[in-house]
């Protein structure tokens, strides 16, 4: 099957899944469970954004939550000032995208090595965390919106139909919107990988020096991938802000760590794996949180440790190569799977 055919198949499968979720879940779930499902969809989008930056671009970003949080904060601040949630979405996307572009410019055009990149992005999100925590008090407000310090912005405005500020979306509609965003972004990243830009980005991930010697601009392609990832994380922040509310937690180390864990456990280089791992691990932590006296961080840390030591390639690629090994050998040549190709 050609790459385009495979991508079409995957996008079709995702569309079927999304359609099933949109038609079945709003009727089947209680309101609380539905809002939870919306949070999970937002988180899956966050996982997808890092899966793209890391898996397709080879960019080790430990601070994807920086753009997630900035998107959420920008949405809340703009929404309160405009009195219209729909107008705030493009503002939030613009803020997250610009922040990612600026940070990416500093890192890629400064030729910072990949390990340093991880540390710099992590530091940025930690600094944002501290800064957001310290914005308590009346002097910290943007327009009509108080930043609220540790408490965040509880009166985060809900999404509404474009042009009708009083017609807020119901939780069911927010869920449908979240699933549509997730599906749209999944389809978009799959399609991006089919373009010349996407193929060059993967080539750079595979072998930076070789790609550069062949005349491709490593810095510009990395910057492009990183910026797209940042924009998606910002959108995830908007969705998250709609079902919970924005607070400095969005920048916290625990969140930043979880995103990396999802992608690593699901499989770097795949897109479906991290999203599935995100949902599975969220369910697991939600369950662990109900066990009295147990700290979910212990579970997350344990999972990460185990994943690095035992299944360094992640669950989806490991499962795929197991399947390939178990299947009777087809006759044609080249049946050996290409483990590094960004498949699903």
């Amino acid at each position: 099957m050609t790459a385009a055919g495979r991508a079409a198949l995957h996008i079709g499968a995702a569309a079927a899944l999304a359609a099933a979720a949109v038609t079945v879940l709003p009727g089947a779930l209680e309101l609380f469970a539905l809002i939870n499902a919306t949070v999970w969809a937002a988180m899956a989008l966050l996982a997808l954004s890092l899966a793209f930056a890391w898996g397709a671009g080879g960019i080790l970003c430990f601070g994807q939550t920086a753009f997630f949080g900035l998107g959420g904060y920008a949405y809340a601040v703009a929404g309160i000032n405009f009195g219209d949630g729909a107008l705030a979405v493009p503002v939030a996307l613009a803020v997250a995208t610009l922040a990612a572009a600026a940070l990416g410019w500093l890192m890629f055009y400064g030729r910072v090595g990949d390990v340093y990149m991880g540390v710099i992005t992590l530091t940025v999100t930690l600094i944002l965390f501290k800064f957001a925590n310290s914005t308590a008090g009346e002097q910290w407000r943007i327009g009509a919106a108080p930043l609220g310090g540790f408490n965040g912005i509880p009166q985060t405005p809900p999404l509404n139909w474009p042009g009708e500020p009083d017609n807020a979306l119901t939780p069911e509609q927010v869920f449908v919107f979240a699933v549509l965003c997730l599906f749209g972004c999944y389809a978009a990243v799959k399609l991006v990988l089919l373009t010349r830009f996407g193929r060059v980005a993967v080539a750079i991930k595979e072998n930076e020096l070789r790609a550069e010697l062949l005349g491709y601009d490593v810095r510009a392609h990395r910057l492009g991938v990183f910026t797209i990832g940042g924009a998606m994380a910002g959108l995830a922040g908007v969705l998250f802000a709609n079902c919970v509310f924005v607070s400095p937690t969005m920048f916290s180390l625990a969140y930043a760590g979880q995103v990396v864990i999802w992608v690593l456990v699901g499989g770097v280089g795949t897109f479906a794996g991290p999203m599935a791992a995100c949902v599975a691990l969220q369910a697991l932590t939600a369950w662990a949180g109900t066990v009295p006296g147990f700290d979910p961080n212990l579970l997350l840390g344990g999972v990460l440790l185990l994943a690095v030591v035992a299944v360094p390639r992640g669950l989806l690629p490991t499962a795929q190569s197991l399947l390939v090994r178990l299947r009777p050998r087809p006759r044609r040549r080249g049946a050996e799977e290409r483990p590094m190709a960004p498949a699903e």
């Binding site: 930690l126 760590g257 700290d295």
Partner: protein, 288 residues
């Protein structure tokens, strides 16, 4: 004049704290190219060791200067044996694994002691400088930073262990052909780094509350210092601490502590944009 002296002392204390916080990380990173994201949690363990030991009736000085580094050094040995040695040469995987370790340590410690703040009060009272008073403990920290730096320098420069360690880091194969076991050298270096982290946590315990999550407060500062400093352990840590500590303290003095830290981060990022290999990638290249 007194004000200048007081501010100068504040700056020195800020620099000293950065040196103390980053030295353990710098040893492990500079020698082994291992980025230990659990560094903050090693400090947390050191702080808890000191608090528990002094609570058990030991003198605070013994608890801080002996118990904490020994306890965390032993813990580092276990971590090296079980985890780090499987991942040598895989820098990114080491980072991820130590991050998992850091989350697990925070979670485990929270389960053990709860999410409450314990602590010890700073000894040594206060010292008068002209019209100002400053904490005697701050002066002690400056002394400790100087002593630690001198100690690391002397150990690397003059002892046989330092020579062997430096040789192994330069070329493990040649060192091994000459009869050195690189495994042991790596293990010893990691333990030394862990002990320094534990000592740092204990030294800072009187200044900050001791909670399971305290590591996160230091890790960003420690990393940005070590990476801005570059590969040379001492020259890098000292030059980066000097620069960033000054920026951060002056920023704090002029506005708020958070803006001081933000200013420090901004300077570090601009510096990395100009010198991607850190300060010692360009100057003091041959320094230790």
């Amino acid at each position: 004049m007194d004000l200048a002296l007081a501010v100068g002392l504040q700056v020195l204390t800020g620099v000293a704290m950065l040196v103390i916080v980053s030295l353990g990380l710098a040893v492990v990173f500079g020698m082994m190219r291992v980025i230990n994201l659990a560094h903050g949690e090693f400090m947390m363990l050191g702080a808890f060791a000191a608090v528990l030991a002094s609570g058990a009736g030991l003198s605070l000085w013994v608890a801080m200067l002996v118990v904490a580094p020994v306890a965390v050094g032993l813990f580092g040995l276990v971590v090296e044996r079980l985890l780090i040695r499987r991942l040598y040469g895989r820098m990114v995987d080491t980072m991820l694994a130590t991050w998992g370790l850091s989350l697990a340590l925070v979670g485990g410690m929270t389960m053990l002691v709860g999410n409450s703040v314990s602590g010890v009060s700073a000894p040594l009272g206060s010292v008068a400088i002209g019209g100002f008073r400053t904490s005697g403990y701050d002066l002690f920290l400056i002394g400790a930073a100087v002593a630690l730096s001198l100690g690391v320098w002397a150990a690397l420069r003059f002892t046989r262990w330092g020579l062997v360690a430096r040789g192994t880091m330069q070329d493990a194969e040649t060192a091994s052909a000459l009869g050195v076991a690189p495994d042991r050298v790596y293990a010893a270096t990691f333990v030394a780094g862990a002990a320094l982290s534990g000592l740092a946590g204990a030294l800072l315990a009187p200044l900050s509350g001791v909670v399971p999550t305290m590591g996160a407060a230091y890790i960003a500062r420690a990393f940005i210092t070590v990476i801005t400093g570059g590969a040379a352990i001492l020259a890098g840590t000292l030059s980066a601490s000097g620069l960033l500590g000054t920026v951060s303290t002056l920023g704090t003095f002029l506005s708020t502590p958070v803006l001081g830290e933000v200013a420090m981060l901004a300077v570090a990022i601009v510096l990395l944009r100009l010198l991607p290999r850190g300060i010692t990638g360009r100057v003091f290249r041959r320094a230790l």
